[in-house]
Subunit: 230 residues, 2 copies
Amino acid sequence: MTSPSTGRALPETERTRHRRLREQGSLDRAALDAVLAAGFLCHLGVVVDGTPMVVPTVYGADGGTLYFHGSVASRSLVASPGATVCVTVTHVDGLVLARSVFEHGVNYRSAMVYGTPRPVTDPEEKLAGLRCLTEQAAPGQWDYARRPSRKELAATALLALSLDEASVKIRTGPPDDGDGADAELGLWAGVLPLHTAWGPLEPDPALPADLAPPAHLADRAASPAGRPGA
Amino acid sequence: MTSPSTGRALPETERTRHRRLREQGSLDRAALDAVLAAGFLCHLGVVVDGTPMVVPTVYGADGGTLYFHGSVASRSLVASPGATVCVTVTHVDGLVLARSVFEHGVNYRSAMVYGTPRPVTDPEEKLAGLRCLTEQAAPGQWDYARRPSRKELAATALLALSLDEASVKIRTGPPDDGDGADAELGLWAGVLPLHTAWGPLEPDPALPADLAPPAHLADRAASPAGRPGA
């Protein structure tokens, strides 16, 4: 991720104000950048015929813009190009195991971005956006794999969403019932952390047997996952 | 998950028909049950003032019903109790690294459920639904932790969503460009698998030092994650 902005605050709007669990909310730009940099899959929410549709899709975040494929929700985005979308990125960090069922929860980091996506038509920006999207999921592949041809570029619908209206929610730490009456129950409480990790590379069976993977993939296959920016 | 139904097909509706990537779509009930059983976090899509809102939240799936907390999207669901929602559950299984950037993608399993959530008001069903939700994320905790009091139960808004209108999309296997012109480029191609795993338990600092975790948590802390049904 380029140009991480620290200390800047995102504007608070009617949609991004934290009503519930206010203590976990953040409008800090650096927090948003960090959550977006830590993943590559978002859930895109659009409205189709008045009902919501939530589609998983890959994204790339670069400075103030989030890029994603326009084809994933084509019915909606083609039908109403000026419509607002909501893009949500969530990382689950662990289960919060409290003394009471009522206080059980999840440690997580989540970002919600609202806005009206702009179709990227300029060929140069489209290449840059696709590079951003590709490198977010698979760093090193833009320089290694064959880049899009003019025909492929024309067939790709890329959308750009401003990060100006966004909010972050983060929960960390132990359960909240460590100092109440339930603490006297003698029950174990704490957090069961959840991690993601890359497994060993699985070569395409169509490959020649002696074709070794490039270093950027071989190195990654032995590393913790989901944190391309770390 | 109780009563997995094998061989049953979900009805195809205008919303669940697979338009894109048809080969990956499924309306098989067993496939839906498997995707839902493999996780505990969904992305809930609702419409608020005409714009979509996508909120991460925990769920429980039991037979034909998906349970989730009504408080997560209170603004919308309280304002329009008859509104349709979309619940999406996604598991990322790996990166598909093709010879061309254009063919890059993700191996994943995803379920989308559409419907109008029903508020659960019967105390017995509410307890059963909360048990389902708790056990999906943290098996064994319903019997171990303190169960909800009458007051806590009254303060909990639980929603039930039928699984009757749902669809599944799954992508597995190597990239699709193993037999085209790009196969001659001499580039490595294949899949970089992504796994989730539980880490070591983190005891609440407020606990007495000699309080050992129960077996169902200690055992799980050393196991692959995200597959409570497996």
